[in-house]
């Protein structure tokens, strides 16, 4: 008996929808086994991870709060991933965006201009783009692999943040904590749902999702990116510029991540902190893949991943699980999902060995 994958003539829609669901179930099973092995109570962990986020309005609103940056960044990254441009440095673009947006309130802590907030958002988005543009330049000009360059730029961004918060931007009255001054009200995003911390950045993310959908489904520019990702030689044959695809992918990814960074400091944080990101830039990669790199799917996967984030916070308290458990879960989820993806274009075939 031989088990092998046989290519299907058509992508299977059922498999496309089932893959993330099955992957999710497998990741839960694997996590339960792992948590049990580590001596944690798996029931309590699962309860905290998956149910508690829905049990109180406050918890649920926190899910929506987390969803904004994850969704925004993932939409930006997915565009590039479909074009085979692998920007894995959204973390750095987010940090640089947050830094750039913080410059105004740090320099004018008493500022009350109505232009402050829009200017911060523009600076954040612009800085994120600029940071990603470095990678685009190195890739198009010097052929340097964008995966490694964007990742290195993330590590650099983290050090720049440390430098600013330990040095020139440290709040002089902040008891020596590595954080900036608290921002004035004029530098904060309006709250979307009264009584929660959810701000209008969730709207940015939803608008970005619609725009991403239109780009990838209806715009010729999006089609060109898809061709470049699926068959680079076909793109060259048709005259679709590779450099343009690289620039577009990286700039859009950087823009989304930079804007998300600005929205974090102008939103729930209200200041620049070392923990400005909590790994959103990396999680967004998983969100993008789990959503099938499809703008609509990503909305769902961003929501699910936010639940895991909030659930992980809960589990830290109630089930004594370290934060890392969330990363382990995310890693497992992506592993299972990638395996599951195979069934979209392949079916399993069991064949007998030939008789002698």
């Amino acid at each position: 008996m031989r088990i092998s994958f046989v290519r299907r003539d058509h992508a299977s829609r059922p498999a496309m929808l089932l893959a993330p669901v099955v992957a999710f179930a497998c990741a839960i099973v694997a996590s339960v086994i792992l948590f049990t092995a580590l001596g944690k109570a798996p029931g309590q962990a699962l309860y905290s991870l998956l149910l508690e986020p829905f049990l109180t309005w406050y918890n649920f609103s926190e899910v929506l709060l987390k969803m904004a940056p994850l969704l925004l960044i993932a939409q930006g990254l997915a565009i590039g991933f479909r074009a085979n441009v692998f920007n894995i440095g959204a973390e750095g673009q987010l940090i640089i965006g947050a830094i750039a947006a913080s410059a105004l309130p740090v320099w004018y802590p008493q500022g009350d201009s109505a232009l402050m907030l829009p200017a911060m958002l523009v600076m954040g988005a612009g800085a994120g783009m600029a940071w990603a543009a470095i990678a685009a330049m190195f890739r198009t000009r010097f052929n340097a692999n964008e995966i490694l360059v964007t990742l290195m730029l993330s590590l650099i961004a983290a050090q720049v943040l440390n430098y600013l918060l330990l040095g020139p931007w440290k709040d002089p009255h902040g008891f020596n904590f590595p954080q900036s001054v608290m921002f004035p009200d004029a530098a904060l995003l309006p709250i979307l749902l009264p009584g929660t911390r959810v701000n209008i950045s969730l709207l940015f993310a939803l608008v970005a999702s619609v725009l991403a959908y239109v780009l990838m489904r209806h715009r010729f520019a999006g089609f060109q990116l898809l061709v470049g990702g699926l068959a680079p030689r076909a793109a060259r044959y048709a005259g679709f510029s590779e450099a343009r695809a690289i620039w577009l992918s990286l700039l859009l990814g950087g823009l989304a991540a930079g804007l998300a960074g600005a929205a974090e400091v102008a939103g729930p944080l209200g200041q620049l902190q070392r923990s400005v990101s909590l790994g959103y830039g990396y999680s967004a990669i998983i969100v993008a893949y789990l959503g099938g790199l499809n703008p609509l799917g990503i909305v769902v996967s961003a929501f699910v991943m936010s639940v895991i984030y909030i659930g992980g916070d809960n589990a830290m308290v109630s089930a004594d699980l370290p934060v890392a458990a969330v990363w382990v879960f995310q890693g497992l989820l992506l592993c299972f999902y990638l395996a599951g993806l195979t069934f979209i274009r392949h079916r399993v075939s069991f064949s007998r060995k030939a008789l002698p």
Binding site: D9, R219, A234, A354, P356
Partner: protein
């Protein structure tokens, strides 16, 4: 005399395709046995089963009367079966002797000595220390054959060995094969070329649609009989050749050169040619002599250095692919999946690939209705057998996909059409159709440049020929005034 190899009711299926169905085959020792069939008849699959690359789903294989179950090529070689692949199984970044050391035991120094000795004995000279990427296609074939011979096989399988050789070299290969036969070696010779089989082989098993359609002694049959067995009906008649008065030159190469930075590629030297409205110009030559580079230079996929390339009367050296297409240029590349079409995309989206200027895009938005209508028109007009515009390109057979791509490019009504290897891997019916389309287009006033390895095809459809050899182009040879031998001399670079 006991059979060396015999297959009984062997079958193999790939997904929806029944590649081989109930094949019976008997190969006698010391015979040169032809496996004849057109593209897609199942010849290559059958050879992979015999060489242990694939396992059959059903059936029995007997080697010297004993049932064998070959799980791998290594087992086949251990039994005494060797195979020369059509698209060689050599590694470009390794040297000749390293390639051979991969499957032949022994020290590399010893192997090098034996390679030289065998080469001298059978007319297969090759430098053991040369890197494979620096070898011509013919030399690579010699390496493949030597690699088999070093293992002293009793059965040697050659998959379409003459498709990569100029006429003169074919004669030399046949001498080698007869010398091997004289030593008692049996040879399985796979081909779709009837005359060669009549000349070389003593037995022929003919495949059609994955089944055996005949077993004959080819020396006692006419090419017409063999063709009927091969395609199930008479060969299509040759195409009517009607001379046209050519018009304006829509493609001009004047001393075009290209220095290739790719160490595995070919540089082009001082190429000059013209393709005028109302004529088909052919580029003959063995693949790997600069064909890919020439096509990419004309299409704009690689940028030409300096002037010397004009299209529709204007210099296009600085224009990109899209700009050249706007002038009325269209191109059918030799690789269909992955270049001419995106395998995972629907035919409709594949129409959009190059036909977007035919009103399929408005203000940057894709117009789905015209896209579908355009695709449906290609499908009906060019007789593409497919469920519809939503079918994925990868699901089409080679011939149907080629008709689709050809149709897409022709529907753009180009002034200048470049076609590379128009009938590679295409069955005879589709190939004939494609050639007729090209001629009809020429008659309608297009300039057509055809790059092809099939000399017969070029003689059928072209008005003039050039031969590309090692990046150099021969002078223009009017088809009416030349013949295969003269062209062959240019193909090996021995013409005066």
């Amino acid at each position: 005399m006991a059979a060396l190899l015999s297959l009984q009711a062997v079958s193999k299926r790939y997904g929806a395709v029944q590649a081989n169905a109930g094949i019976d085959l008997v190969v006698d020792p010391g015979s040169i046995h032809a496996i004849l069939g057109e593209n897609g008849a199942g010849k290559s699959t059958l050879m992979k089963l015999i060489y242990g690359v694939e396992s059959p789903d059903a059936g029995v294989m007997l080697w010297k009367g004993q049932p064998v179950n070959l799980a791998s090529p290594a087992e086949a070689r251990a039994h005494g079966i060797g195979m020369v692949f059509q698209h060689f199984s050599l590694f470009e970044t390794l040297s000749v002797v390293q390639n051979i050391a991969l499957i032949v035991p022994g020290k590399q120094a010893d192997l090098a000595r034996r390679i030289r000795a065998l080469g001298a004995e059978f007319g297969l000279e090759v430098d053991p220390e040369a890197m494979v990427h620096a070898l011509s296609v013919g030399e690579r074939q010699r390496v493949e054959i030597i690699r088999c011979l070093l293992l002293n096989p009793e059965l040697l399988i050659l998959d379409e060995p003459t498709s990569v050789l100029p006429p003169q070299s074919v004669a030399r290969l046949f001498e080698t094969l007869r010398a091997l036969q004289a030593r008692g070696m049996a040879i399985l010779f796979i081909s779709h070329k009837l005359e060669e089989i009549k000349e070389l082989c003593d037995t022929a098993t003919i495949l059609r649609g994955g089944r055996v359609s005949g077993r004959v002694d080819p020396r006692g049959h006419s090419a017409k009989d063999l063709a009927t067995l091969m395609i199930g009906r008479a060969m299509p008649p040759p195409l009517p050749a009607t001379a046209q008065d050519p018009g304006e030159a829509w493609l001009e190469l004047a001393g075009l050169s290209y220095r290739n930075d790719d160490p595995f590629g070919v540089s082009l030297h001082d190429l000059s040619l013209q393709a005028r409205s109302g004529e088909i110009v052919g580029i003959a030559g063995i693949s790997g002599n600069g064909q890919q580079e020439l096509a990419a230079l004309i299409s704009g996929e690689i940028a030409a250095q300096g002037a010397g390339l004009r299209m529709m009367g204007q210099g296009v050296g600085r224009l990109g692919v899209a700009a050249r297409r706007r002038l009325g240029f269209a191109f059918v590349p030799e690789e269909r999946l992955g270049r001419g079409a995106v395998p995972e995309m629907s035919l409709a989206d594949n129409a959009l690939l190059t036909a977007h200027r035919a009103g399929l895009v408005a203000r940057g938005f894709i117009r789905r209705a015209p896209e579908r209508a355009f695709t449906a028109a290609i499908i009906t007009r060019y007789d593409v057998r497919t469920p519809g515009p939503e079918a994925e390109a990868a699901a089409l057979s080679g011939g149907n996909l080629q008709k689709f791509i050809m149709g897409r490019e022709m529907m753009l009504d180009p002034k200048l059409l470049l076609v590379s290897q128009p009938t590679w891997g295409v069955d005879i019916g589709a190939a004939t159709e494609i050639r007729q389309r090209l001629i009809a287009m020429r008659n309608a006033g297009a300039a057509i440049l055809v790059i092809s390895e099939e000399l017969e095809e070029l003689f059928q459809i072209c008005d003039r020929l050039h031969v590309l050899h090692k990046g150099h182009l021969s002078p223009s040879l009017p088809v009416a005034e030349t013949n295969a031998e003269a062209v062959g001399a240019y193909m090996i670079g021995s013409a005066a």
